[in-house]
Symmetry: C2
Subunit: 214 residues, 2 copies
DNA sequence: ACGCTGCATCGTACATGTACGGAAAAGATT
DNA sequence: AATCTTTTCCGTACATGTACGATGCAGCGT
C-alpha cells in the first residue's frame, strides 16, 4: 500500500485543521464573532499567523467551517421535529430554520448573506447541498408533501420557493432589527403560512434550465 | 440673522461632503467597489485620509451615501413604469426592483444585506423610509390595489410581504450566482407571480405591534 | 488689540487580512 | 549515505480601516 504515507499525512492535516476549527469555535464563544482574528487564532494553537493559511484559504474559509458545523446542528434540530402530517413537517422545517437564523445571525450571515460565495473550494453545487444538510431535509419533506398529494409541482421548485421566502424573511429581520416588522416570531409564522397557503393553491413547474452560463 | 455664519458653515460642509460622494462614485465606476478605499478617496480630493472622517462616520457611511443615490434612481425608474391596472403597476415595481438589484448587486448588498444596519445616523425608521423612496412607491401602489379592491388587508403588511419575497429572491440570486435557479428573470417572475397570486387570495392583517423593545 | 474657544484638518499609530518568498524539515531518489 | 524535491511553517511587508490626539485657524468676547 504505497498510499499509506500520503494518507497519514492527509489525516494529520485534517486533524490539525479541526483543531483550528475547534479553537476558532472557542474564540467566538468567548469573544464573539469580532474576536475571531487570524492572529489570535494562530496564537491560540501556538502557530505563527501565516501558518493558518496552510489549512484555510482565507478567513472566509474559517467562517464557512464554523457555519458548516452550525448547520449540521440545525439539521439535527429539524429532525427532532417530525410529524405525521407532511405539511406540519414542512412547517417545522421553516420554524426551526427561522429560529436558527434568528438565534445565530452571524452564522446565518456567513453562509447565506456573504459575498458571491463561490462553492467553498471548487465543489459543485450538488456537493454544497451535501454540505448543507438542512436543504436536503427540506427537499425530502417537500417530496413527502407532493407524494401525499398535499402539494403540486416540482419538489425542487417548491423547496426553492420556500427557501426564498424563508430567507427573505430571516435576512430582513437580521438586517433591519429596528424596522417595525412586529414580533419576529409572528412575522415568521405569517410569512410561512402565506407561502404554504400559496403553494397549496398553485402548481409549481420545474425551474427553467440555466441557459448558457455555468 | 445671527445664524448666517453657522448656516454658511453647514452649507460648506454639505458641499464638501457631496464632493466626496461624487469622487467616491467615480472611483467605484473606475475601479469597482473594492477600489474604493478611504486613502484613495482622500488623495483624490486632496485631503489627508483622516479628514474624510470629518464628513463620514466610517466607510459604511460612504457606501450608504452612494447607495442612497442609487435608490433614488431606482425610484425614478419605477415611476417611469406606471399602469392603469393597479396590479400591473405593482408588478412593475417588483420587476424594476429586481432588475435594479441584479444590475447593481454591490449597492443592493450595502443597503439590504449589510450589517445590523443601524439607521444611518440616529434617524428613525420613518426617516429611513423617507430616504428610501422605492419603499414609498411600493406602499402607495399597494394602497391603490387595496382601494381598487384587488387586494385585501393592511397595505403596510402587504408591502412588507412583497418586500420579503422580493428581497429573498434577489438576495439569493446575488449570493448564489452558481446555484441552479434557472434564468434569473424567469425566477424573479415566478416568485413575483407567486406572491401576487397568494396576496389576491389571502387577507393580510396588520403587523403585530412590536412588543417591548424599540 | 489680545487672548480664548471651538472646529477643521491632519500626523501618527495600531490591529487586521494577506501576498511573497525564505527556511527548515521530511521524504524520495540516487 | 548523499543529494534532490516537496511540503510545512513562518518572518517580513504592505494596504487597509480607524482611534487618538496635536496643530492651526476662524470667530468671539474682553
Amino acid at each position: 500500500m504505497p498510499l499509506s504515507v500520503q494518507t497519514r499525512r492527509e489525516k494529520q492535516k485534517a486533524e490539525l485543521r479541526s483543531e483550528l476549527v475547534e479553537a476558532a469555535h472557542k474564540l467566538v464563544q468567548e469573544e464573539g464573532y469580532e474576536g475571531l482574528t487570524i492572529r489570535k487564532l494562530a496564537k491560540r494553537v501556538g502557530y505563527a499567523p501565516m501558518s493558518v493559511y496552510s489549512y484555510f484559504a482565507d478567513k472566509q474559509d474559517i467562517l464557512f467551517a464554523l457555519a458548516e458545523d452550525a448547520f449540521a446542528t440545525l439539521a439535527r434540530r429539524i429532525e427532532e421535529h417530525p410529524s405525521d402530517d407532511p405539511i406540519e413537517a414542512l412547517q417545522a422545517v421553516m420554524t426551526e430554520y427561522a429560529a436558527f437564523g434568528l438565534g445565530n445571525p452571524n452564522e446565518y450571515r456567513t453562509v447565506f448573506m456573504t459575498e458571491k460565495t463561490r462553492p467553498p473550494e471548487g465543489k459543485t453545487f450538488a456537493e454544497m447541498e451535501e454540505g448543507n444538510p438542512a436543504m436536503k431535509v427540506l427537499i425530502s419533506r417537500v417530496e413527502a408533501c407532493v407524494a401525499a398529494g398535499k402539494l403540486k409541482g416540482d419538489p425542487r421548485a417548491i423547496a426553492t420557493t420556500l427557501w426564498a421566502v424563508g430567507h427573505g424573511t430571516i435576512s430582513l429581520l437580521i438586517t433591519f432589527p429596528f424596522y417595525p416588522f412586529g414580533d419576529p416570531q409572528a412575522f415568521v409564522k405569517r410569512m410561512c403560512d402565506f407561502a404554504l397557503a400559496g403553494l397549496m393553491t398553485q402548481d409549481m413547474p420545474p425551474l427553467t434550465e440555466t441557459p448558457p452560463n455555468c
